[in-house]
């Protein structure tokens, strides 16, 4: 019942498509494309493939399909690895790589494996480090406790939402791996076995399943072998499929496990007995008879096939169904001839399956409704310049500008000097020395002002264009102007304005991006007005104004003197002159500030222009989102014409269901907006993102709300309402999708096809449906029924035929003929010898080869033992510069024959010539004192050899005590040498 941590490895383009479809089914149930204990990897020989699917919201990287590129940019690196003289020489690679492959045009593989299986395998080997790391990291991820805990939490929540009691345990800790892809091309077809071998031997994955699509049987059978001599794509697919099936047949066959090169991965020979796959399923676009996946125009439709594989994977990935399917496999494994070879030597371990389903497309409906709502919201955001309420917007702009102007100008013009403002400094200076000024005769005031308050630093001079105060203001202003601070400052300022725009948009004052653009234009008008008030040139020193003080007539007013008001008049004029002087200075200060403010205000306009351009971008994004949403809605509302999936709807049609779903969010816009725009970022910032991210964010917000409402749908209920004819035409298609001679397989061989019906929702209703289908003879009465609460939007009929050998496929003979019709055809075999994996051809040779290698290994081990235990057996020949060790054996007629032993080639030569193993006899005899049959005795435990020798001597009445001691010592040394203490079986050289 428990879900198992699972890695889904898609290999090649078909693998990617299968996993994409699989994620949509997972999303249908869990509303996330994968559980934390799932991981999807795709190994792809094409460059630049990325995982995108508009069905999903913005995904965390861990939720995406991880695409590992396996490309070779330059085949020279491969040449180095098969060059015996090169430091990167790789014996394992050189053993299988057909060298012709290196003559490929372009000297690289970056755009797929070009339908060449050997190229697929080579791409794997050359990128093994990255691929291995990705697989290992994925394994660590899926079994990590955190991820298992997260999955448990998620499942508990799911069961709680469905008011169901969760099973226990929810999550297992035994990882499993699915490898999916197509055997027709080069990538998956060339890589799958090596990847599985490595998973088995190095990663020690307990369960490895393969689901592979093959070429369409009708395609293969209908081909004319003569025409197939031409290098066309279809012939390639057939040949590749058959070559890959042959390889699978070979590696699954337990009798081939010791053949050199049978169990290899990119790390070399892996040396294990287990087959790389626990179970391999094959599917093609056509089943037996006339059942075939075709599109509306009658052509083979691979999408439907991929979808069927994805649906099968999905059902395995959720607990109940996985257990049901695992039970099928267990049943098959238990039948007599499973995993045995048939009369032609092919192993009966493959299977094929097919399924048909009734699906309530809950997510499709929710997504379509969400898209339509997204498009409507986008329309609102785009707005209409003709209908915009310009007066109101203008008022908002004025209000916001006035609210910000003091802050903006205060920030722009910092007139502080030594910690206090220049304005205060001027006023204080005059205030402090007012009495001294007043005490001066009027006539002296003018000159006093020129030098006020000190001759060295008069205020008048300080306020000149290059004066002290002017410099202070310019420098203060220069601080934000220089460096990046100005950009920061303007950014902040524009941020304030954008914030205002955002605020206005959020509270509904501005209803569209168009409104926001008008608003910014109005703001710019205000700034332009402010700029107009700023002097273009530095304000000149207004000498005339100061001179007017002097021209007031001084104190020589006889008219006032006559009537005694002269002093009073003079005092008054002096006070006014001082006030005027102060005004002049402050006025001059303001002029300077305005002069300097002109630049930043212009910059501010430019900043607003930039923001306006950003709004243009935003508008573009919103328009793109609207278009994408409408496009996707159209795609979603067009129910796919899948032959094996019948769609059912609550209201009878998808359009009505979508309309009903749209109504579910009516009046809930605040809730939707809160989901769309996170509280920490404003609407505009959200819209400034990539359009696909914005679209995904908006759509998922609507979709989540709608899915919440659609959660309680029950496909079983809707299926019960279907007519007999509809049920019949749909579920009669649930047959294994390989063209098989089922009668022969089932009647002659006695392996029955297994049937399973899976459904969710009401269990009693499901049983009623199953009874009905049984009565209609759509399923057998004894078919398994699996109630899967997690798949309440599905009713599936699944059939699987197991214990198949490759020659059970109807295309076997024709496909083999097509492959054979192109002997030596470049690339179909992933081995230098085209028939290396063919168990029908050359098995005797393979066994001889295997025996020869075993004998060479055996001889090497004995030679090693002899070097330590009886070095006297070796003689030296050759000259001093190039001495060679030899072993001398008496041959026929008593003639001595010397065998060189140092080089591997020497040992191979001995095995070739020394068919009666005299060399080994000599070594073993010297070691143990026995002379005969040492070679045949060798595979047995050393202890047995020793015991045999001891018994022989005992029988002869010899004193064996001393001999036993010697033998025991020698055995100890041999044990240590062969590194298997206490285990006589492994002590024997192999």
């Amino acid at each position: 019942m428990a879900l198992r941590p699972t890695i889904f490895i898609g290999i090649g383009t078909t693998g990617l498509e299968m996993l994409r479809a699989f994620r949509r089914f997972v999303y249908e149930t869990y509303e996330i494309p994968q559980l934390p204990i799932f991981k999807q990897l795709v190994i792809e020989t094409r460059e630049g493939i990325i995982d995108t699917d508009s069905w999903f919201p913005v995904l965390h990287p861990s939720e995406r399909i991880e695409i590992v590129p396996a490309v070779i940019r330059n085949l020279n690196a491969v040449r180095d690895r098969i060059d015996r003289q090169h430091q990167n020489y790789d014996q394992a690679l050189a053993d299988w790589l057909p060298e012709d492959l290196l003559n490929i045009q372009g000297n690289q593989f970056v755009n797929g494996a070009s339908n060449i299986r050997a190229a697929g395998r080579l791409c794997l080997w050359m990128n093994w480090r990255e691929i291995d790391q990705a697989i290992e990291s994925a394994l660590n991820t899926v079994i990590a406790k955190d991820n298992r805990d997260a999955t448990v939490d998620l499942l508990l929540k799911f069961y709680e939402q469905h008011n169901m009691a969760p099973p226990y345990p929810l999550v297992d800790d035994r990882p499993m791996v699915y490898l999916v892809g197509s055997l027709c091309g080069g990538t998956c077809s060339g890589m799958a076995v090596d990847i599985a071998n490595n998973l088995r031997a190095v990663q020690r994955v307990p369960s490895i399943y393969g689901i592979f699509s093959t070429v369409d049987a009708q395609t293969a059978i209908g081909m004319n072998p003569d025409n197939a001599r031409q290098t066309n794509e279809r012939a390639n697919h057939v040949a590749n499929t058959w070559a890959a099936l042959t390889e699978l047949d070979f590696v699954l066959n337990s009798q081939t496990k010791d053949v050199p090169g049978a169990r290899v991965s990119p790390v070399g020979e892996i040396g294990i007995d287990d087959a790389p796959f626990d179970y391999v399923q094959l599917v093609s676009p056509s089943a037996s008879g006339t059942i075939r996946f075709v599109d509306g125009t009658g052509y083979v439709d691979l999408d439907q096939l991929n979808n069927m594989v994805a649906l099968s994977l999905f059902m395995e990935a959720i607990g109940e169904v996985h257990d049901g399917k695992e039970a099928i496999r267990t049943d098959y494994r238990q039948i007599a001839r499973f995993n045995q070879n048939n009369e032609r030597g092919h192993v009966q371990q493959l299977s094929s399956f097919g399924l048909a389903a009734v699906l309530y497309p809950r997510t499709r409906i929710a997504a379509a409704a969400a898209c339509l709502q997204t498009a409507k919201l986008c329309e609102r955001w785009i707005g209409d310049a003709a209908r915009a309420n310009r007066n109101a917007i203008s008022a908002y702009a004025e209000e916001d500008w006035n609210a910000n102007i003091a802050r903006i100008e205060g920030k722009l013009i910092v007139d502080s000097h030594r910690g206090r403002s220049i304005r205060d400094e001027i006023r204080n200076a005059i205030q402090d020395q007012r009495n001294q000024l007043l005490a001066l005769p009027f006539a002296e005031l003018w000159s006093a002002m020129q030098t006020f308050p000190t001759i060295s630093r008069p205020l008048v001079r300080r306020l000149e264009l290059n004066g002290e105060y002017s410099t202070v203001i310019a420098n203060n202003l220069a601080t934000p102007f220089t460096a990046d601070l100005m950009e920061v400052f303007l950014g902040e300022l524009a941020g304030t304005i954008l914030g205002a725009v955002d605020q206005r948009l959020t509270n509904g004052d501005l209803t569209s991006v168009t409104d926001a653009q008008i608003y910014i234009e109005q703001l710019k008008n205000h700034i332009r007005g402010r700029i107009a008030a700023c002097p273009v040139d530095p304000p000149p020193v207004n000498i005339q104004l100061l001179r007017s003080i002097q021209n007031l007539g001084g104190d020589s007013n006889v008219w006032a003197a006559v009537i005694g008001l002269k002093d009073r008049a003079t005092e008054q004029k002096k006070a006014a002159a001082i006030a005027r002087f102060e005004c002049y200075l402050l006025d001059r200060l303001e002029s300077l500030k305005l002069f300097y403010m002109r630049g930043p205000l212009k910059e501010l306009i430019q900043a607003l222009d930039r923001r306006k351009r950003e709004l243009d971008e935003v508008l573009k994004v919103v328009q793109e989102v609207r278009n994408d949403a409408l496009e996707l809605a159209d795609e979603l509302r067009t129910v796919p014409n899948w032959m094996n999936v019948g769609f059912v709807f609550r209201t009878g049609s998808i359009d009505k269901d979508i309309a009903a779903a749209e109504n579910m969010v009516t009046g809930r816009m605040p809730e939707v907006m809160a989901r769309i725009v996170p509280s920490n970022i404003g609407l505009l910032r959200f819209l400034r993102d990539d359009s696909s991210a914005v679209f995904a964010g908006m759509k998922s917000a609507f979709q989540a709300l709608i899915l919440n409402e659609l959660r309680t749908d029950d496909a079983t209920k809707l299926t019960v309402d279907l007519g007999n004819e509809a049920l019949g035409s749909l579920f009669s298609r649930a047959v294994p999708y390989e063209d098989l001679d089922l009668r022969r397989i089932q009647e002659v061989r006695g392996t029955r096809m297994v049937e399973m019906t899976i459904g969710g929702g009401n269990e009693a209703l499901l049983e009623r449906l199953v009874r009905r289908m049984s009565e209609l003879r759509l399923i057998r009465g004894d078919a398994r029924v699996v109630h899967s609460p997690l798949a309440d939007h599905l009713v599936v009929v699944y059939r699987e035929q197991g214990a198949l050998a490759i020659d059970d496929l109807a295309m076997a003979n024709k496909a083999a003929a097509i492959l054979a019709s192109r002997p030596g055809q470049f690339g179909h075999a992933t081995h230098r010898k085209e028939d290396f994996y063919d168990v029908e051809r050359g098995m005797a040779e393979k066994e001889r080869q295997h025996d020869r290698v075993r004998r060479i290994d055996c001889l090497s081990e004995w030679l090693l033992a002899a070097e330590v235990l009886c070095p006297e057996i070796f003689m030296l020949t050759g000259d001093r510069r190039n001495p060679r060790r030899v072993i001398v054996i008496k041959g026929k007629g008593g003639i001595d024959r010397s065998y060189p032993v140092d080089q591997p080639a020497d040992r191979a030569e001995i095995v070739n010539e020394d068919s009666d193993s005299k060399v080994i006899d000599r070594i073993v005899g010297t070691l143990f004192g026995i002379r005969e049959n040492a070679d045949r005795a060798q595979p047995e435990p050393l202890q047995a050899i020793a015991n045999a020798e001891i018994n022989r001597r005992r029988n002869k009445g010899e004193n064996v005590a001393a001999l036993e001691k010697i033998l025991e010592k020698k055995l100890q040394i041999l044990d240590a040498m062969f590194d298997a203490p206490g285990d006589a079986n492994e002590t024997a050289p192999s």
């Binding site: 007031l552 007013n557 008219w559 009537i563 008001l565 008054q572 006014a576």
Partner: protein, 131 residues
């Protein structure tokens, strides 16, 4: 003109004596009144300018305005005197008196004009200063 003025001044002493003795000829008493009007104009100008400046007016402007007004008042007063004088039909009035009278009126006009011009200038300057 200057000699006539000297004669008037020379005449003034006996006139004042005559007035004090109650034997004053009518035309002489008019002359005295004319002179006294100057004193009154002075007092008016002083009083007005103090009052105006106390009320916040620019002191110079108030002074000039007061002086201009005082001179105009003096002319009005002088013309009034001459009218009264003429109505007495005194034949023995010395011709020089008319000349002097005309001179004084002219001086009055000039002074009033000058004061007014000063007032306008002072007003402008003040406004420039305090604006």
């Amino acid at each position: 003109m200057f000699n006539n003025l000297l004669e008037i001044v020379k005449d003034l002493g006996p006139v004042l004596v005559s007035i004090s003795q109650g034997k004053v000829p009518l035309q002489n008493s008019i002359l005295v009144g004319y002179l006294l009007a100057y004193a009154m104009a002075f007092l008016l100008a002083r009083a007005w300018s103090r009052e105006d400046s106390a009320q916040g007016m620019h002191v110079d402007e108030a002074v000039y305005a007061a002086w201009a007004t005082a001179f105009v008042a003096h002319i009005v007063f002088s013309v009034a005197c001459a009218f009264i004088w003429g109505s007495q039909n005194v034949e023995s009035t010395p011709a020089a008196n008319y000349s002097i009278f005309s001179l004084f009126i002219t001086i009055d006009l000039i002074l009033a004009y000058m004061a007014w011009k000063h007032r306008v200038a002072a007003r402008q300057e003040w406004h420039t200063l305090i604006s």
